[in-house]
């Protein structure tokens, strides 16, 4: 069987493409780093890939708002392609800056199905860039990227962001997210209980750390699974041994799904 094809889309300032690319490769995907320009001028076609990865970083410096410029660029030329990519059941994953872009584009949460911006990731409540390890709980493993996790499982993942405070446009959007169980990951403390800052590092509503669309093929999240593919890159591995890291199963879930499906 052919390995599934993954595109890691970059522009100036997206700077997590290396760890994303390597995680995909090591999980068995046939990954490629592609500059947004090549999609814009049709040198590359989104349709040739099974997975689109929007990496973290500071696209265009995160000037204006995190992800705003890259999202505007995508909206101008590529949004239809991405919408049909999603409708086709192909996979999209965006950690950190990628999540910010997915929200700006309206690909998440998209409760109304109109691809409109229904939420925002605002400045952290601490008004600080926060780089540390946090815990999240898996609320729902129907999401393609979470197949290999148990519901209720507690994951340990790194975060590194200034704008991660999840806010919805209104109560209705928030309620839809909760009823449809799209809030697949929430921030919890060491005991696995939802609690405030610093365990919720940015002040997100309902401790939301990650969202998956209803269909289960688009995942956006603030933490960085691609940075902990191996245990030795987890912050406390010298206390807990080596082997696969917390990020490994995100990628394995996605790659296995693609191998089955495509």
């Amino acid at each position: 069987m052919k390995n599934p094809r993954a595109a890691v889309m970059t522009m100036e300032g997206t700077n997590n493409e290396m760890e994303a690319y390597l995680s995909l490769i090591h999980a068995g995907a046939n990954a490629e780093i592609v500059h947004i320009k090549k999609f814009e001028n049709s040198e590359k076609k989104l349709g040739d890939y099974d997975l689109l990865f929007l990496p973290g970083g500071f696209s265009a410096g995160d000037y204006i708002r995190a992800g705003a410029i890259m999202a505007a660029r995508i909206k101008a030329k590529l949004i239809r392609d991405i919408e049909s990519f999603v409708d086709d059941g192909r996979l999209v994953m965006g950690p950190c800056n990628g999540f910010q872009i997915l929200i700006e584009l309206g690909l998440l949460p998209n409760t109304e199905g109109k691809w409109e911006t229904e939420a925002a990731l605002a400045q952290n409540i601490s008004n600080r860039f926060e780089a540390r390890t946090i815990y999240v709980k898996v609320n729902n493993n129907k999401c393609v990227f979470l197949k290999k996790f148990r519901e209720g499982e507690i994951l340990k993942l790194p975060i590194a962001h200034m704008e991660g405070r999840f806010i919805t446009r209104d109560e209705r959007v928030l309620n839809e997210i909760l009823t449809r169980r799209m809030n697949v990951l929430s921030y919890v403390n060491r005991e696995g209980k939802e609690s405030g800052y610093p365990w919720n590092p940015n002040g997100s509503m309902m401790n939301i750390a990650g969202l998956c669309n209803e269909k289960g093929n688009v995942l956006g999240l603030m933490p960085h699974p691609e940075r902990v593919f191996y245990k030795v890159t987890e912050s406390d591995w010298t206390r807990n041994g080596t082997g696969e890291g917390m990020g490994y199963r995100f990628f394995l879930s996605a790659v296995e799904h693609m191998k089955e499906k495509f």
Partner: protein, 752 residues
């Protein structure tokens, strides 16, 4: 007289007074002797210089570019240590790592710009150091920063808090945006850094051995390409500013820049791609002195002449004069020498990354440089004369001070002093700064700045980066410096800096392999300061030559002085090491209960500059003396015990001595230790707080006692066992008994 964009300057008929006036009016920063030297050169040419020519000389002969006060001494003391271990030297230095790659490293100061505009000064410091590693063909993998701030305000200068917050934000915003993890560094607070703050930034990178770049242009007909940021009026005369003392109310905005990481990030990709495809012949970055310095050095080192066409330089502002274009220090620029047949491919690469690039000239046989602007010749000079700054044997004086130890009366409350130490501004957590730096980007950080249980981590000694996901080796990165020692005794302070850098590397389980030295001092024209500078260099030499570890790169920053206030003469040492199997790396957090805890190396009564002396405010000028041969033998023994899997955790003993080292090992682990020091027969405070060098605390495996004794001989001592409490006794005397949570709270004070 020339046209309106060019001036000819009358020097042939100028006397000393006029010459000095010219140096001042044109902001050249040159001395009378230097002006006379220029006059005689142009007399032999039979003509007056243009302003472009004078400005070019002003750059090349500045202290910053020319190393005119330090070079003869650097040669004598620093260069030539373990030369066979240096793979290559240029903007950064290279050391061999494995059959595939070499490591590039460099540490540099950005002190003067940061004192004036902390945010931009620190940000462009990071930008500059990244370019130095890139210039070697290296992929930057880690940024580091060692910062020295004041505490008290001084009239007419920005407040220390303002400076600190600007510097930290600048490093954060630049480093995070380019996506290179900031993994290691240090922050010191002392009023010796009012108003002369020090910002020393380092970068470590990896280069495939087949892709190592050189800067020298040793062939005629190579095209010179400038790529990256456009050239503007920003940063004109930056090197001259860094070559004089800082005085009140100086805010010459033309030297201030904020940097643009969003040009740097793709520029790094583009240059590395062109290098990978073997399209670059020679490479160098534009830093201090701008085009003037980079082109001069590239051609001179390759023995070539060259022709430059300034109208080809992409500009930010259209009305710039030729001399401004030539010496502008605008950020984010790289200079490539490329063979004619590769030009198209190189330009395509830059285009695909949305990076501006332009061919501005070429090399040719000869020893002279000619610069044209819209067809008119604006500079025509011998490169040797232009680029080789005069060198000075500055006079120096050593101040002799007898070593006097002072024994304070025995303190009543050891426990209270320990807590005070853990919460001391120079000891407590740096998370308020470091957690604003992305230290996990690139997914290769194996050991970061903190380790231990999630949410309550403690400090680590060295950071470890895995350069390749397919191999098991790791690069350990750390620093050493101690401004309190250096202030009292620059010689011992320098040795202690090396000792600490090495200790940190070894403590993580790695073998130290190379240094970069970033030297900071006051005005070199003052003989006492030059004397201290030389003492520092001889300390650096003694330590490194005994260890046989080379300084592969470095940097000198003088004139960190304002009137009589000046900084201690001090080095910041960036060290890198190699660990063969990252999954064996060590961190300081204790791993389990009931394990033997060893102290490696005995303490002495040498409290000069120690945290204890600073807290109790007693004077002592007997600074801890690092003995390089002892350091060397302890490293060997430590690494042997490490290879034999006897060590579970390790921490170096520095600020606050054994007491603080033990306390820090409890923070990330929630595991304490019960200590009994009665068998040593030394005063408890001296035993606990002495900062004698080359020492470690290690947590050994259960049952490791015999093997540890075999390896260390009488250099390792069991001082206790890990436990649920944190207690110390000296026979009958209870020294301390502190709840672990109290230690953690003290150390984290003010930070959630």
């Amino acid at each position: 007289m020339g046209t309106e964009f060019l001036e000819t300057v009358e020097i042939l008929n100028s006397g000393v007074k006029e010459l000095n006036k010219i140096s001042k009016n044109y902001n050249l920063g040159l001395s009378t002797e230097e002006m006379l030297r220029i006059k005689s050169y142009f007399s032999s040419q039979g003509r007056n210089p243009t302003d472009v020519e004078l400005q070019a000389i002003g750059q090349a002969w500045s202290e910053h570019c020319g190393y005119k006060s330090s070079k003869v001494y650097l040669k004598k003391f620093i260069f030539g240590i373990a030369p066979n271990k240096i793979l290559s030297q240029g903007d950064a230095g290279l050391v061999d790592f494995n059959d595939d790659i070499a490591i590039a490293l460099k540490m540099e100061s950005h002190n003067h710009p940061s004192a004036i505009e902390p945010y931009g000064g620190a940000a462009t410091g990071v930008g500059g150091i990244l370019r130095d590693v890139l210039s070697m063909g290296g992929q930057p993998i880690a940024v580091t920063d060692v910062l020295y701030f004041g505490e008290r305000s001084k009239k007419g200068f920005p407040s220390p808090k303002f400076i600190e917050s600007g510097v930290i934000s600048g490093i954060r915003d630049y480093g995070n945006r380019v996506g290179i993890p900031t993994v290691s560094g240090g922050i010191f607070y002392s009023n010796d850094f009012v108003p002369n703050v020090l910002v020393n930034v380092g970068c470590v990178g990896v280069v495939k051995k087949s892709n190592i770049m050189k800067a020298s242009v040793d062939k005629p007909g190579l095209k010179l390409i400038i790529a990256g940021g456009k050239t503007g009026r920003d940063g004109i005369h930056g090197v001259n500013m860094a070559s004089k003392t800082l005085e009140k109310g100086e805010e010459d905005t033309t030297t201030v820049q904020l940097g643009n990481p969003i040009i740097k990030e793709p520029l790094i990709h583009a240059v590395l791609e062109a290098n990978e495809r073997k399209l670059i012949y020679a490479l160098k970055d534009l830093g201090g002195g701008g085009l003037s310095s980079v082109i001069g050095e590239m051609l001179l080192s390759g023995g070539m002449g060259g022709d430059i066409y300034l109208e080809m330089v992409p500009l930010k502002e259209s009305n710039m004069k030729p001399w401004e274009i030539w010496i502008s220090e605008s950020q984010e620029r790289m200079m490539l020498a490329v063979k004619e047949e590769n030009i198209n491919e190189v330009m395509d690469i830059f285009n695909s990354w949305d990076i501006t690039a332009s061919i501005i000239g070429h090399s040719r046989s000869g020893k002279d440089l000619r610069i044209y602007y819209n067809g008119q010749k604006v500079l025509d000079m011998d490169l040797e004369f232009l680029t080789s700054s005069p060198l000075y044997y500055r006079s120096y004086r050593h101040i002799k001070q007898p070593k006097e130890s002072f024994l304070p009366s025995y303190p009543k409350d050891i426990e209270r002093i320990m807590l005070k130490m853990v919460g001391n501004i120079n000891v407590r957590t740096r998370e308020y700064a470091v957690r604003q730096y992305d230290h996990t980007v690139r997914g290769s950080t194996v050991i970061g700045p903190f380790s231990g249980n999630v949410g309550s981590e403690g400090p680590t000694d060295a950071s470890i980066i895995r350069p390749s996901w397919d191999r098991s080796e790791g690069i350990a990165i750390s620093h050493g410096s101690n401004p309190f020692y250096s202030k009292i005794d620059p010689f011992r302070g320098a040795k202690a800096a090396v000792d600490e850098a090495v200790r940190n590397i070894v403590s993580s389980g790695a073998k130290p392999i190379a240094f970069s030295d970033c030297l900071n001092a006051g005005n070199p024209e003052i003989p006492e300061i030059m004397g201290e500078f030389i003492s520092m260099l001889s300390g650096l030499r003694d330590s490194a030559s005994s260890l046989e570890i080379p300084y592969v790169s470095g940097n000198v920053s003088f004139y960190n002085q304002t009137g009589k206030s000046r900084i201690p003469t001090l080095p910041t040492i960036l060290a890198v090491g190699k660990i063969d199997r990252i999954e064996k790396a060590l961190t300081p957090d204790f791993k389990n209960f009931g394990n033997p805890v060893y102290m490696i190396g005995l303490p002495y009564v040498e409290m000069g500059g120690s945290l204890y002396s600073r807290i109790l405010k007693f004077n002592d000028n007997n600074v801890p003396n690092s003995e390089p041969t002892i350091l060397k033998s302890r490293i060997t023994k430590f690494l042997k015990a490490f290879d034999d899997d006897l060590i579970l955790s390790s921490h170096d003993i520095s600020d606050g001595g054994l007491a603080v080292a033990l306390a820090e090992m409890t923070i990330g682990s929630g595991i304490g230790v019960d200590v009994d020091i009665s068998s040593f027969g030394m005063r408890s405070d001296m035993f606990l707080f002495s900062e004698s060098q080359s020492r470690f605390v290690i947590e050994g495996r259960k049952g490791s006692e015999e093997r540890i004794r075999e390896i260390f001989g009488n250099d390792a001592f069991i001082i206790g066992y890990t436990s649920e409490s944190f207690k110390g006794i000296n026979g009958e005397e209870n020294l301390f008994n502190i709840e672990l949570e109290r230690i953690r709270k003290k150390w984290k004070e003010g930070y959630i």
